[in-house]
Amino acid sequence: MVISVKNLTKRYGDLVALDHFNLEVGEGEILGLLGPNGSGKTTAINCILSLLKYEKGSIDIYGKPMAPEAYDLKRKIGIIMQNVAVFEELTVYENIDYFCGLYISDKNKRRSLVIEAMDFVGLNDYGKFYPKKLSGGLLRRLNIACGIAHKPDLIILDEPTVAVDPQSRNNILEGIQRLNREGATVIYTSHYMEEVEQICTRIAIMDKGKIIATGNKEELKAMINSGEKITVEIYNPENRILTDVKNLPHIVSAFFHDSFLTVKSERDKNNLMVLIDYLKTRQIAFGKIYSEPPTLNDVFLEITGKELRD
């Protein structure tokens, strides 16, 4: 086990930020820590890194208790903060070299690691640029390069794609998967469920300082009752349509949102053809129609009663 967190409790005054938080991360995993803003993801990461004090609980990394002076453990960890943690007065190369130099003292070895890190995040052409000359996406890539240049075994990324353009986001996500393929264990916190679904081998959903569900995306989706979601544009939405649809077989719920009818089916049941037949038979005019499998947001919604992005 790479990380083992047991009964971690952290308070900010009266607010319980982590409430008997438990987490286990196995070697070679990309664990996605998914939760809305304020759910306790960053607090959990900072406690795991021994930056934050906590009231109760234990944190072991590679089987050893994590502490500020656990330098042998720190040597194996790479951290990519939510806020960009680089020096404005140093160039891209210098920033990576500075942070890498806190781990690697051999100059030649460090030089090749820095170049490799720049290459990894696609900043080869920006070595002499100062951070303020970089776009938001490139800055985030620099932030990542500073955290991974020393080739850590465990990489912790705390919302690394906030305010990043799609191209840089893809670059970052692909990079994380590549690091994982090269042997690194990854913890990835985000409130973007699409990202977590895309790259994580296992997902832990957090709410109010607790892990409320864990598993891979299929396992998580299997935990809820609802299955596919069908959305149909109805030109003349009427209440009788809603009543009729709710009486169709395997329907969990149906509701109108403006002129769009949303219908949720039971898990593993497909109602698309049944619904189309109904609309044709009753000669109800409809426009766009599409079907979606359940998402992690549906999982979160069903477990907590609220949207993931609330």
């Binding site: 890194l49 930056l51 934050l52 500020p68 903060m81 943690a85 140093l90 500075y98 130099g101 806190l102």
Partner: protein
């Protein structure tokens, strides 16, 4: 590891335009302004020769004594001791010069010495005093000759015309007194204290609850106090170089005389710089609030300390030292100023080393409290 951190902290700090402005450029600009202001003051205060006209008539030519006295008072070989710039002329021409404002007065002989002035003032008073003094001395000598001619042989005339000062102006040290140099001492003291900006910055980049860079560095396998000490060493180095540049500028370009004891001057700069940098670290670690508040406190604190050591009002240092002497020992700016002052004016080092000792004590105090604040490695919140 030391060189790695030291090198990059040097780069970061020297590339910070804002900090380099306050620690290097601002003192140089202020020094230049002081220099310009005091140069002007000196030129206003400097004595310039009084232009007079003397009517060169027969009676004047006959009065050998007066001619000799006037010659002595207007001798260009006397340098600054020369009182008058004399033009020998006719009475009409003299009057024309006086009306035109080219001279301050006309001396002419017509049954005795006469003086014509256009207006009253310091220069006019000096001319009148000169003539009155001459007349008085002449009268004294005449009276002595008339009443006791033998006195001439006994040297009474020399005695009556000679002047003796019973008070002598003396300096405690080898340097001539110069009130303006104290302003430059306080300027250097202020510059030393502005090293506090570097100290503040180093606390910020090493405390995980103050910056993201610090959080990342705290996660590295290097003890945070080691990183902090190396960073502070870099900060002190840059500030010392800045103070060196300021000293060079003041002495080489502006020709301010700080005396000749270069070793002790450097010791003062080192002690002052370290005190300034640790003062910034102390404020950075104990004051809760944003960086803006801390910078505000540093600027206000440095200026207040400089004010109390006489930067804006030269009597302030004396007032503090006589009314609240303890404040003088707690004020680093005053201690630094005092060091320079004692080196410049005194031949002994008692005051100097006392001041250095207090600077070291203040540094130790700031360092200890900073250590107590930053030694923790876990935070309640980030």
């Amino acid at each position: 590891m030391f060189w790695h951190i030291y090198k990059y902290r040097l780069k970061c700090l020297t590339r910070s335009r804002q900090m380099m402005f306050w620690t290097l450029l601002f003192p140089i600009i202020l020094g230049t302004l002081f220099y310009m202001a005091f140069s002007n003051l000196s030129s206003v205060e400097a004595f310039s020769h009084i232009k007079i006209a003397v009517v060169d008539n027969e009676e004047f030519q006959k009065d050998t004594n007066f001619r000799e006295a006037l010659q002595s008072a207007s001798d260009p070989d006397n340098g600054d001791g020369s009182l008058f710039d004399v033009t020998y002329t006719s009475k009409e021409e003299g009057e024309s010069l006086l009306m035109g404002g080219n001279i301050e007065g006309i001396i002419y002989f017509n049954n005795g010495i006469k003086l014509i002035l256009k207006e009253s003032g310091l220069n006019q008073t000096i001319i009148k005093e000169f003539i009155d003094h001459y007349k008085q001395t002449l009268s004294t000598v005449s009276a002595i000759i008339n009443r006791n001619p033998e006195a001439m042989q006994k040297g009474l005339i020399e005695s009556s015309t000679s002047h003796k000062d019973f008070l002598k102006e003396a300096s405690a040290g080898s340097s001539a007194p110069d009130t303006t140099v104290n302003y430059f001492y306080t300027l250097i003291a202020m510059a030393c204290l502005y090293g506090s900006f570097f100290g503040l910055n180093e606390v910020t980049v090493n405390q995980a609850n103050l910056s993201a860079q610090a959080a990342r560095a705290n996660m590295s396998p290097v003890h945070k106090l080691r990183v902090f000490i190396y960073s502070m060493t870099a900060a002190a180095t840059i500030q010392l170089v800045n103070i060196g540049i300021l000293l060079l500028y003041l002495t080489v370009i502006l020709h301010i005389n700080f005396g000749t004891q270069i070793t002790y001057i450097l010791l003062t700069c080192i002690a002052g710089t370290v005190t300034g940098v640790t003062f910034g670290a102390f404020i950075g670690s104990i004051v809760k609030g944003g960086e803006g508040i801390k910078i505000g406190i540093l600027i206000a604190g440095s200026m207040t300390m400089s004010f109390l050591s006489g930067m804006m009002y030269d009597k302030m240092k004396y007032i503090v030292n006589t009314k609240v002497p303890v404040l003088g020992y707690l004020n680093p700016a005053n201690l630094i100023t005092d060091c320079f002052y004692s080196l410049y004016y005194y031949d002994t080092y008692t005051v100097f080393f006392t001041d250095i000792l207090f600077l070291i004590l203040l540094t130790a105090f700031f360092s200890l409290l900073t250590y107590l604040q930053i030694r923790r490695q876990k935070y309640a919140s980030l």
